[in-house]
């Protein structure tokens, strides 16, 4: 076990845990947008920055990536942290004005409107946190999406901005997106994810007759887990 101090509290933590994990385990809240405990930390949104000090020298580090060390002193709410976090919120707010999650988060930090012209990328809802891409690769294992281009032109995209041929329509990207900018629709026997230009035929439950999941997704799971051929003939509710 490692001894460290977070916001004045002496804590013990397991080795190899990150500052963010230890903080959350102890009820200390650090805001994040690109973090999900089931995915590899990424460090892109920078909201989880905290100030650490060692030998009278302090610096900001990304708490989702920084492994705890013996004797570490962490401040999650120092002036330096808050000033930077506010600027980050301003930048986010200017990037995607009109996204409720961002607006709420900003208001909580005392940022009402950015100091810049918010006309850039109006109606843009994607904050490029990369959660959808990582969920697709790390959890689903399909890697149907990728972050393409660089700098301000960066975007999440299907291959060559065309139909995402590897997409199985599972919707993981939709569920994990913090700003809800990935649009998925089930209508009749079809599922559409507009962002990736894909349509899927949904499987009908042989018992209740409801459409419950894309055939491609069920086939993917069945093959991966070596399940019997009739395994998905009925929906989970009817099983």
């Amino acid at each position: 076990m490692i001894n460290l101090t977070i916001d004045g509290r002496s804590l013990q933590a397991e080795e190899e845990k990150t500052i963010l994990e230890v903080s959350r385990d102890n009820g200390i809240d650090i805001p994040t947008l690109c973090y999900n405990e089931d995915l590899e930390p990424y460090g892109a949104c920078r909201l989880c920055l905290v100030e650490i000090s060692r030998n009278n020298r302090s610096r900001l580090v990304t708490s989702c990536l920084y492994p705890v060390e013996e004797g570490l002193v962490v401040k999650t709410n120092s002036d330096r942290v808050l000033t930077n976090r506010k600027m980050l919120m301003e930048l986010l707010l200017a990037r995607c004005s009109g996204v409720k999650v961002i607006e709420d988060m900003a208001r909580k930090m005392g940022v009402e409107k950015p100091s810049f012209r918010p006309q850039y990328l109006d109606h843009n809802e994607c904050i490029l946190c990369g959660l959808c891409v990582r969920a697709c690769a790390e959890v689903v294992g399909t890697s149907a999406l990728s972050l393409v281009n660089r700098g301000v032109n960066r975007e999440v995209a299907s291959p060559f901005l065309d139909t995402a041929s590897d997409c199985i329509g599972c919707g993981s990207c939709v569920y994990i997106c913090p700003t809800k900018c990935i649009k998925m629709e089930d209508s009749g026997d079809t599922r559409t994810i507009r962002n990736w230009k894909v349509n899927f035929k949904l499987k009908k439950c042989q018992k209740c007759g409801n459409y419950f999941a894309p055939e491609k997704q069920l086939e993917y799971i069945r093959t991966k887990l070596k399940l019997p051929e009739d395994f998905f003939d009925t929906c989970p509710n009817c099983k």
Binding site: G43, A44, C45, R46, L49, L60, V61, T62, L65, Y66, P67, R80, T83, N84, M87, L88, L91, L92, A94, R95, S115, F116, R117, Y120, I127, L128, G130, S146, L147, N149, R150, G151, V152, N153, R154
Partner: protein
């Protein structure tokens, strides 16, 4: 060639190569580096070969295609050995005369000599030319003494002797201690102590370790790594082999941006030659130590020069940086201990091993040892690559080596360290250039790019240019760098257009602070330097743009007007035709032309053409 199986055999081979060489035989060494290629040096080289054949001199004269000696502005460059006669701006038509006069009769061709624009003095030998005189060319000096595609040439100047020494007389720990004691700091930008990096990679857990050479040089105007890799690839390889031996690595990578085809070609040739001689591969020189080097080409993303992004790119992933809380010396390429150094750092290694840490230590300042290659560009008379001991002042570099400011203009600032370096004003010209001093004044060593600006440069416009470059080249992964640079560019553009607001300077400072504090990698962390330093040293220019809608340097189009200064205009009419919008009307000889402000698009063509300085800018 026969594979060598001991350091003694290597020395034997070197001896036989040196003995075979006739030092008194004339040698025409022509630069065929990328810079001189633009001056048509391949044709000049062919012309020399033809001319030599024509005169039946094949056995009496050597022709050597060499790497870059640095004075690129004066290309094509030619050195004639053994005398060391230095000819510049050599053209195809000069070839027969050089053979008939200089080679056959020993006469100097005056017009091909370098003439100092300040004193009018001519210099026959390279070493006497002011551009070279103040330099200390530890690494670059060999460039025009060898053919980079000939391992024999490299062996002849003492190549691989450092490696042989390390292998037969030093334990890996001793080598690391020697590098540590030398005080060598990484030339790629951050200036991290090289020996310490080697030591932690050696001590890291894992059987498989890598050494990597970073030749992904992307700074505008910087090309020292290219010149070393093109001109003396074996010196870089030798450094890597010594490093690999000290660290315990058996595989190395040279990562070169694909815009450097000649560097790729020359290092590939060098690797093959070293393999054939048994200096790379299994059981090197019979020592049991094995090391291979592979070449990997980068796709040309600026951020891939950052070590973690480079490693991601090497792995075949998108080149994006990651936080370095766990050092790459422990978990780098493929999560294995990896030591990454840049070209110039590697090239220093053989010198330190051969001549010792104490010798290296004597060059430079307290905190920065050795020499540093700078690419001196911009508004100076002599541009090119200069290698000087650390601690030389900016004034010496700009005035003594660079020959001062072009066109008799006034010096304004010098930007060091590439696009994310800072601008250093005239009041700090006596700053000794080393890692720590540059950081202290808000700039950095970075790659070693040095861009000199004069009074006709607008500092807000310069900051805008570099922020524009960086926002395009940022990877876009982390929020402050991606969005912050975008916003900074927006604000700077507003200011240069006369749309600046009073609060803009403070806002720029606030964004800059977050960029510095909160970015994921060093690109974002340093990206605000051009803005921060121009505000720090040239705040009055920002204020003139914002408060008075005036660009003091006369650069920002929206804020300036061109006018004809009647008393200076001879009415020659030279400016009339080139004006793209026909805004200038010819009246009569000896009567000033008339400029129609409504039609003027402020392109500045008339101003550039007029030798009488009769076009004014306000």
């Amino acid at each position: 060639m026969v594979r060598l199986s001991s350091p003694q055999q290597l020395e034997g081979l070197r001896k036989s190569i040196v003995e075979r060489k006739d030092r008194s035989k004339p040698c025409i060494a022509l630069c065929v580096g990328t810079g001189c290629l633009a001056y048509g040096c391949t044709d000049i080289l062919t012309a020399f070969k033809n001319e030599v054949e024509k005169n039946r001199l094949q056995d009496k004269v050597d022709i050597r295609a060499t790497g870059c000696p640095g004075f690129c502005e004066r290309g094509a460059l030619l050195t004639i050995y053994p005398q060391g006669i230095f000819y510049q701006r050599v053209k195809m038509e000069d070839v027969p005369e050089i053979i008939s006069e200089t080679i056959l009769k020993g006469n100097i061709i005056e017009r091909l000599l370098y003439t100092d624009p300040n004193t009018g003095e001519r210099y026959t030998k390279e070493a006497d030319v002011p551009f070279y005189k103040r330099q200390q060319r530890l690494l670059l000096d060999s460039n025009n003494k060898i053919d980079p595609t000939s391992i024999e040439d490299y062996l002849a100047i003492g190549g691989y002797a450092a490696f042989a020494k390390a292998l037969s007389h030093m334990k890996p720990e001793q080598i690391i201690q020697e590098i540590k004691r030398s005080g060598l700091r990484g030339r790629g930008g951050g200036g991290f102590p090289t020996g310490a990096k080697w030591e932690s990679t050696r001590e890291a857990h894992g059987d498989i370790k890598y050494v990597i050479c970073n030749c992904d040089e992307g700074d505008p105007g910087a090309y020292m790594d290219r010149s070393l890799m093109e001109g003396n690839p074996h010196s870089v390889l030798e450094g890597m082999i010594i490093g690999a031996y000290a660290i315990g690595a058996n595989l190395g990578y040279v990562y070169i941006r694909h815009e450097y085809p000649m560097a790729v070609e020359n290092v590939t040739i060098a690797i093959k030659q070293a393999e054939e001689l048994g200096l790379l591969g299994e059981d090197i020189l019979g020592s049991g130590f094995g090391f291979k080097v592979k070449v990997s080409r980068g796709g040309g993303a600026f951020v891939c020069g950052e070590s973690t992004a480079l490693m991601a790119s090497l792995e075949g992933k998108v080149g994006e940086p990651r936080a370095k809380y766990i050092h790459t010396s422990e978990k780098g390429l493929y999560n294995r201990p990896s030591d990454l150094n840049n070209v110039e750092t590697w090239a220093n290694i053989p010198h330190i091993i051969l001549k010792g840490a104490d010798w290296f230590n004597k060059i430079g300042t307290k905190g920065s040892k050795g020499t540093k290659i700078f690419s001196l560009v911009g508004k100076v008379k002599n541009t090119g690559l200069v290698e000087v001991p650390m601690g030389m002042t900016l004034r010496e570099i700009v005035y003594d080596i660079g020959g001062g400011i072009l066109g008799g203009n006034k010096f304004k600032a010098v930007q060091t360290g590439g696009p994310s370096g800072g601008f250093i004003p005239e009041s700090l010209l006596d700053l000794p250039v080393d890692f720590d001093e540059l950081t202290r004044v808000g700039s950095m060593m970075g790659s070693g790019a040095m861009i000199v600006t004069d009074e006709n440069t607008c500092m807000v416009d310069m900051a805008k240019y570099f922020v524009g470059f960086l926002q395009e080249e940022a990877c876009g992964k982390c929020l402050p760098c991606r969005e912050g640079l975008k916003r900074m560019l927006e604000i700077l553009t507003d200011i240069t257009r006369g749309d600046g607001r009073k609060e803009d300077i403070e806002l720029l400072e606030r964004i800059a602070a977050t960029l510095k504090d909160a970015s994921l990698c060093a690109l974002g962390g340093t990206a605000a330097n051009p803005v921060m330093t121009t505000i720090r040293y040239f705040r009055d220019e920002y204020e003139a743009h914002i408060n008075e809608r005036r660009c003091p340097a006369g650069v920002c189009k929206e804020l300036i007007t061109y006018s004809i200064i009647d008393e200076k205009c001879p009415g020659c009419g030279l400016c009339v035709e080139p004006c793209p919008t026909k805004a200038i009307t010819f009246v009569a000889k000896k009567k000033p032309v008339i400029l129609n402000q409504k039609l003027c698009i402020k392109c500045g063509t008339c101003c550039d053409i007029c030798k009488m300085k009769a076009v004014g800018v306000k």
